[in-house]
């Protein structure tokens, strides 16, 4: 079982293969396509992430001590970024998620490439991922 840190290193390495931003965006778009879309009924306003200029929904459930995340968006790039986050954080215990301080956003240049508002959206996504972990931890 890979740790979050290992998975993050792998992610940074994957992005290092791309020569320019169009290729990175192409990869992010593909990631979004691989994430199963949410049902329309599931896309309720309570699951919307605040701070995104497009609509991004994030949901989570707990199975055998591990958190599993799912996300969707009405825009393609945010959906890909959300998919990147859900695959990174899914399958880990709440404690590991809560302790993990991601560095990949800076490393792969996402922060400088997304508009400030979108970047805020990205940090809002991570905050919400941690909020779910905290809620599950408190419940256990």
């Amino acid at each position: 079982m890979m740790t979050l840190k290992d998975k993050e290193s792998q992610l940074i390495e994957d992005f290092g293969m791309f020569e320019d931003w169009m290729d990175k965006y192409g990869y992010i778009i593909e990631l979004g396509k691989s994430e199963a879309p949410m049902n329309e009924e599931e896309k309720v306003d309570e699951l919307l992430i605040k701070g995104c200029q497009s609509r991004v929904w994030l949901n989570a459930n707990m199975k055998e001590g591990k958190v599993h995340y799912r996300a969707d968006s009405d825009a393609v790039i945010p959906k890909g970024i959300a998919a990147l986050l859900t695959s990174l954080f899914s399958g880990h215990a709440p404690d590991e998620i809560l302790e993990f301080e991601p560095v990949f956003i800076k490393e792969i240049g996402l922060a400088q490439h997304l508009s400030p508002t979108r970047s805020n959206g990205l940090s809002s996504m991570i905050r919400q991922i941690k909020n779910y972990a905290l809620a599950f931890k408190t419940k256990v």
């Binding site: 320019d20 931003w21 169009m22 290729d23 778009i29 790039i77 508009s115 979108r118």
Partner: protein, 425 residues
């Protein structure tokens, strides 16, 4: 993984005329790369780039003058006052105002419009009075008036706008004939969403015939056509420095002198009084009674430098002709791309703005990926939410031109747009 071989390059066959090259040389911000690509700046309707002379004037002001205006009895204070008042005169001349005191400095168009909604709301508009505006007004010329519904009991009447961005002039005439409660028309010179230029002269003449006062939001209009407030016959004209190649944080409110007696000050404090006792104040004369506090002198100086730059260095009729030429190329190119729908367009008077959307593609994805290719455009609701909602749209992508843009840049944008759409669809 290799870059896409069909990657667009900034190498159009279209010649860059000597004149456009000369114009570009005045703007240092054009000389940079964004994400490894030469910057293609097509967000001019949000704010324009600044020429060297404006940047230098601001530096000069802070380096050698930097004193408070009007009250200082020392040389730098006199110099500062001189700079500030020279800017006022230059602006009066620029927009054809007969009386220099009718030029009030503000923070920008939004500040000018809030100024008027607030002061007209208390001094001129009575509960039940109607204010006429268009559906395509920028939020800056809508929200301050919406606030007056609750605060002052006024009504808002909206003139419909069609998908070309133009107004229904028959509806306008009908409204003027059928309603006697309209006291103010507040209207953009041209739309920041579609670029449509409104027939102001005709509209003002008709409003005036019914005794209706007129306020013009010139934030976009003043950039792309010559303005003469006296010829237009408007009561108020508001604009910002930063869209007119000047600094941010400085704007203008033209107030026709006949309003001086009616219109109270907007803010109170230093610089706007002639005498203060513990319980009573006599205000200074216009325009000073409308300018409380230390003004943005460097901003005023920078705006004057921008106007002088346009006067001295730029052949404005050639510049506007070039903008229209680029606009047509851009509009034609965008319309050729499958799935793209344009708001605005058509044959009528038009600022060089193309606003469009693509069914099934989110505008933020488009703008984010275009930025990856060095192209700056705006995506979103452009502060015109109610109208976009009426049309069933969440947002558009807007490309807006300035005279320093080139045919090659327009072509590069079109190629980039096609490439990005190919990845998103």
């Amino acid at each position: 993984m290799n870059s896409n071989p069909s990657s667009p390059k900034l190498t159009s066959k279209a010649p860059l005329t000597a004149q456009v090259a000369q114009w570009r040389s005045y703007f240092p911000a054009l000389e940079q790369k964004v994400h490894g690509h030469p910057l293609v700046y097509l967000d001019n309707a949000a704010t324009s780039l600044k020429p060297h002379s404006v940047i230098e004037e601001i530096t000069r002001y802070y380096s050698t003058i930097n004193a408070n205006v009007h009250r200082a009895n020392h040389s730098l204070g006199h110099a500062s006052t001189e700079v500030y008042e020279a800017a006022r005169s230059r602006i009066a001349n620029f927009i054809g105002a007969k009386d220099v005191s009718s030029i009030v400095f503000t923070k920008g168009t939004t500040d000018s419009l809030n100024f008027l909604a607030d002061t007209l709301g208390t001094s001129f508009l009575k509960p039940g009075d109607a204010v006429l505006l268009t559906e395509s007004e920028h939020h800056s010329n809508m929200v301050p008036w919406i606030e007056l519904i609750a605060k002052r009991g006024i009504q808002l009447v909206y003139l419909p706008v069609d998908r070309s961005g133009h107004l229904d002039m028959e509806a306008y005439v009908d409204l003027l004939d059928s309603r006697s409660d309209i006291r103010l028309l507040t209207i953009a010179h041209s739309s920041n969403l579609t670029g449509a230029v409104h027939p102001l002269k005709e509209m003002i003449t008709k409003a005036k015939a019914k005794g209706i006062s007129v306020l013009v939001d010139g934030a976009q209009g003043v950039v792309h056509q010559s303005v003469n407030v006296t010829g237009l016959g408007c009561d108020f004209y508001a604009f910002s420095g930063h869209k007119l190649y000047g600094p941010m944080g400085i704007g203008v409110l033209y107030i026709h002198p006949k309003w001086f007696a009616t219109l109270p000050p907007y803010q109170y404090g230093g610089g706007m009084i002639s005498e203060v006792q513990f319980d009573r104040v006599t205000f200074a004369e216009e325009p000073y009674k409308y300018e409380a506090g230390t003004p943005n002198v460097a901003g005023a100086a920078g705006l004057k430098a921008a106007i002088e730059f346009l006067d001295d260095e730029i052949d404005l009729s050639a510049a506007w002709e070039h903008e229209q030429h680029l606009y047509k190329r851009l509009l034609h190119g965008v319309e050729q791309i499958e799935g793209v729908s344009v708001l605005g367009g058509g044959d009528r008077a038009q600022d060089p703005i193309v606003s469009f959307y693509v069914e099934g593609v989110h505008h933020y994805d488009l703008a984010t990926m275009l930025d990856g290719l060095g192209v700056a455009v705006r995506a979103g609701h452009h502060c015109v939410q109610p109208l976009l909602r009426k049309w069933g749209l969440k947002g558009t992508v807007r490309a807006s031109l300035a005279f320093y843009n080139t045919e090659a840049e327009v072509d590069y944008f079109l190629q980039s747009l096609e490439r990005v759409l190919g990845m998103l669809q």
